[in-house]
Structure formats: structure tokens, C-alpha cells
Amino acid sequence: MTLSPIVARFQLNYGAFSLDVDLTLPGCGVTVLFGHSGSGKTTLLRCIAGLQYTPNGYFEINGKVWQDSKEGIFVPTYKRSLGYVFQEANLFPHLTVLGNLQFGLKRIGKQSNTTDLKQILELLGISHLVDRMPDKLSGGERQRVAIARALVLKPDILLMDEPLASLDTKRKQEILPYLNKLHQQTKIPNLYVTHSQQEVAQLADYLVILSEGRVLASGTLPETLSRIDVPLAQDKEAATVWDVRVAEHDADYHLTTVDFSGGTLSVPAINAEIGTSLRVLIHARDVSIVLEKPTATSILNVVNATISDIVDDQCGRSVVQLKIGKQSLLAHITSKSAQLLRLNIGMTVFVQIKGTSILH
């Protein structure tokens, strides 16, 4: 799999809704297209798949051009090397699970009983379901079969349209680990549409934020999440993620120390070997700012930081962006506190991080 970037340019006008994007995306890893409903994220994915025709578009992956309206090129969906997972699993009701999985394989002329198929069945934990009909599966199982069905074709790109949206929280938690495993074990680039912050934090390597058919921001996950100029920063679920490494375990206190580029953090004990790479999520609401290093505090994680930006939301809350080494962090504080502490861009302060969650 080469790492040449994916180029996507689409313009579409429906009157009330228009889409106008020009994106260059990494040719590997998980790119999440994030936005609220009506932001155009699903439309963009459908344009990429060719399920939605746009008179004005360009799409290129691995050096292959799927659409170039200027040259009159539009490769029909069935000739594109893609895997698509729909919001509803969309399995063929008249075929067994195995029949569904073999549907695409037969059409690309591959043996349908390969070790690849077995591996994918195992990866998604559906080996025992092959003889069932789709209506005898749970929602979570159906969606796993749909993911496997897209994956067995070894497509150039995997497109997933809110694959978890139709499932309840418990089923989501059941599938998320499979998705993480999938992304670690296959090298297929993945475009993943969601409106869930949790899925963004868990899965994304690269994040594109869409609003009303326009790209608000795009970049690596840590970079984009810590941007202060996107509406995400104002959201009460606003959070930043740091990539960290396990440094030390403290069995007595059930704590683990992790390293990041600007220092160390103590987090609740993790069952992982020293040196393992992890992703830590820090909610902006769990970050507070003090001017002098506190000597007596219950909060373990106190680090030195520099204020890089402040935005007042005019509703009594300020979003503060801080730099700690190379890492960025967002803090939500009251506007009153920001005034009392006379916070300014460039100031050096201490941040107290009250809580962290380990993602994977």
C-alpha cells in the first residue's frame, strides 16, 4: 500500500444545501469526517464512493483517478476498489452471512474460502455466525458482518458512514474494540463519518471538521482537537488527546505514569507493558489554571504551561489554549476567573489536570 495522499474536491448545489470541499488526506490510517447532521459529511462520503453523482468533482487515490469532471471521467461505483459500510448494515436479506461475505469476492474473481476470509471472520468475531441469515443476527453482529463484507475485498479505501449510529451504547462498546483492532491490523486507509466525539477521540488519526458543507478544519487529531477556532472547542465535551507512552507502574497506589513530550502524567493503573503507546483524552472541563505552583493540592497532575490563546464565548466562559512542550491543551474556565487571574497570551501558568481517560 503506497502512502500517496487522497485528493477529494467536490462541489454540489441543492439550493438549500451546498457542498464545497477541497481536501488532501493522508493515504493511511483513519480519517474521521466529523460534523453535526446536515454538515455534508455523509454526502461527501457518498460522492467519494460515486453513489452520489456530482457534476463538479475530482477524486484520486493511490494515483488512480475515480472522478475528474473536467476530463469527463466518472468511474461507476462498481468499478471502484472500495469498501462501504452503511449506517444500517444493509446486508442482503436473502443470503446467509457467508453468502453476503462471498458476494463481492465472487465478483473480483477471488477464491472465497481463503485464509484472508478466515482471518477477517476471526478479527471481527463472527466465525460462528457464517450460516445464519441476517434477520437472525443482533444489530451489533449485523454491523460486524457488514464491516467484514467490505473488508474481505481488500479495497484501496474503506468508507464507513456512521457504522455505530444505529446501535445502543452497549453495542457500540462491543464494536469499538474491533474497529481499533481492525485499524491496527490492516493497512487500508479508512474514511469514517461520525457525529460522536467519543468515536473521534477513540479512532481518528486525522480529523476533518465539516459544517454546512464546508471544511472548518482538517489536520492530525491532536492538532485539530486543540484548535480554539472551531466550534468543537466551545462544546462542553471539548477535549484534547495526547499520544503518550507507559513509563512506570505504581502498584501501591494503583497508578501508572506515562510520558508525553512535555513531561509525565499520572493516570489510573493501566494493564499495559512499559513502553506501550497509548492515547490519553483530557476534557477541557477537567483542566484548571493556577498562577503559582500549588504546594498542597489533591490533584496529582500539575504541569507548567504557556497560554497560547484565549477566547471568551460571551456567555461567561473562556476557552484557554495552552502549550506544554509540543502538546496543546484546552481548558474551560469561567470568564470571571480569566479576568481575576489576568490571563494573557504568552503568560506562563500551571495547569491542574483533574481527570484523564485512556483511550487505547
Binding site: T77, Y78, F92, P93, H94, G104, I108, D135, L153
Partner: protein, 228 residues
């Protein structure tokens, strides 16, 4: 009991209905598919034309067909030029009339089924490398089985039961156009009630049986269930 002439009419009816049903499936399936998927402004007109035989008296349809297929009609002139002669009062003419008369009974259930299937399975198939024709045969046809069953049975039984159009276009020619419904009429006209009873009873039990089979199959068909 059934006379040899009665059995001949039964056999002729079966032939007419079978051939007409096959032709209706051949023409009706693409038509129903197009009607289910198109956004064209002609859709309304086409729907109305296909449905016309449902509301027109069979004599009206028969009358127009008679005129069109007659020696001075557009179709009649064409068939004469092609050396086929004219179609009224012939077996092929009866088939043409039957196809037009029963077409809504084939097109409408198919159209409803195709609409019901929706575009999701088609999109899934296209992301799995199936071209449109392949998708029609490997996804749409199996999913539309209940619709095809309904279309075949309604199209066949309705053709078996036609009378007005046959009388207008086909006439009453033994072994050529004399079907069961016409033969029953002949018996009643001649006050042969016993013979009429036998034939009428045959038609009644045949129609009831196939409809019963149809509705019990539809009730238990797994795909029919899921598509609801």
C-alpha cells in the same frame, strides 16, 4: 361431464394464459422497473396507460383493438404489409389483446415490490462490484420473488377469466379463440346448464386454489416479511 369441445376450450385457455403471462413478464418487468425508479415526467402518463384496463369496460378495449388491428387500422396495415395478415379473430390477436388487458396485474405488483426494495440493496451491491444488470439478477430478483409470484398468478388467472375482450377481438372460433369463458356463455345461451356448471366449477376451483396458494405463500415468505 366435460365434452371434448369443453376440454379443447380448457386447453386453449391454458395456452393463451401461459403465453400471455410469459410475454407480460418479458415486457412488464423492465416497464415496472423503470416505473419504480424513474423521476421522468412521463411516469404519471405511463402509470395511467398501464392501469387503464383496470377501469375500462373490456368491450371498450376490445373495440379499439378491433379497429386498430383491422384491415384499415394502423396495426392492421402494418401486419398486412409484413405479410402476417390481420390479427382479429386469430390466436395471435387473442394473445395481443390478453397481454394488454392483463398487463396491469403484472406491472403493478412488480412495481410495488421494486419500489419497496428501495435503493439500499442496490447501493450495497454496487459497492461490492456488481454491475447494474448483475445486481438485478442476483439481488433484485431474489428479493422480488413474492412480487413475481403475485404478478404471475394474477396475470395468469386474470387472463383465464377474461371474456369481453375475447368476444370482441377473438370471436368464438373453436380451437382458435374459443376459451372457457366464451364456452360457458355458449352453454348458457343454449340452456345447457349442466355443461355450464361443470366448466364454471372448474374455473372457480382453479382460481380459488391458486389464490389460496399465493396468499399462504406470501404470508410465510421470509423475504416478503422483511420487506414490509
Amino acid at each position: 361431464m366435460l365434452s371434448a369441445a369443453d376440454i379443447a376450450t380448457l386447453w386453449l385457455t391454458f395456452k393463451v394464459a401461459s403465453i400471455a403471462t410469459i410475454l407480460m413478464l418479458l415486457f412488464g418487468t423492465p416497464l415496472a422497473w423503470w416505473l419504480a425508479r424513474t423521476q421522468s415526467r412521463w411516469k404519471g402518463v405511463c402509470n395511467a396507460v398501464v392501469a387503464l384496463p383496470l377501469v375500462l369496460p373490456p368491450t371498450v378495449l376490445g373495440f379499439y383493438l378491433l379497429v386498430l388491428m383491422g384491415p384499415n387500422g394502423v396495426i392492421g396495415k402494418l401486419t398486412s404489409e409484413l405479410g402476417l395478415g390481420t390479427l382479429p379473430f386469430t390466436f395471435p390477436g387473442l394473445i395481443v389483446a390478453s397481454v394488454l388487458y392483463s398487463l396491469p396485474f403484472v406491472v403493478q405488483p412488480l412495481q410495488a415490490t421494486f419500489t419497496n426494495i428501495g435503493k439500499q440493496p442496490l447501493e450495497a451491491a454496487s459497492t461490492l462490484r456488481a454491475n447494474p444488470l448483475d445486481t438485478f439478477f442476483s439481488v433484485v430478483m431474489p428479493l422480488a420473488k413474492p412480487g413475481f409470484l403475485t404478478a404471475i398468478i394474477l396475470g395468469f388467472t386474470h387472463t383465464v377469466g377474461e371474456f369481453g375482450v375475447v368476444l370482441m377481438v377473438g370471436g368464438n372460433i373453436p380451437d382458435k379463440t374459443r376459451v372457457v369463458s366464451v364456452q360457458i356463455y355458449n352453454h348458457v345461451e343454449a340452456l345447457e346448464y349442466n355443461e355450464a356448471h361443470w366448466l364454471a366449477g372448474c374455473l372457480l376451483s382453479f382460481s380459488f386454489t391458486v389464490l389460496l396458494v399465493l396468499y399462504s405463500v406470501l404470508k410465510t415468505h421470509p423475504v416478503a416479511h422483511q420487506l414490509k
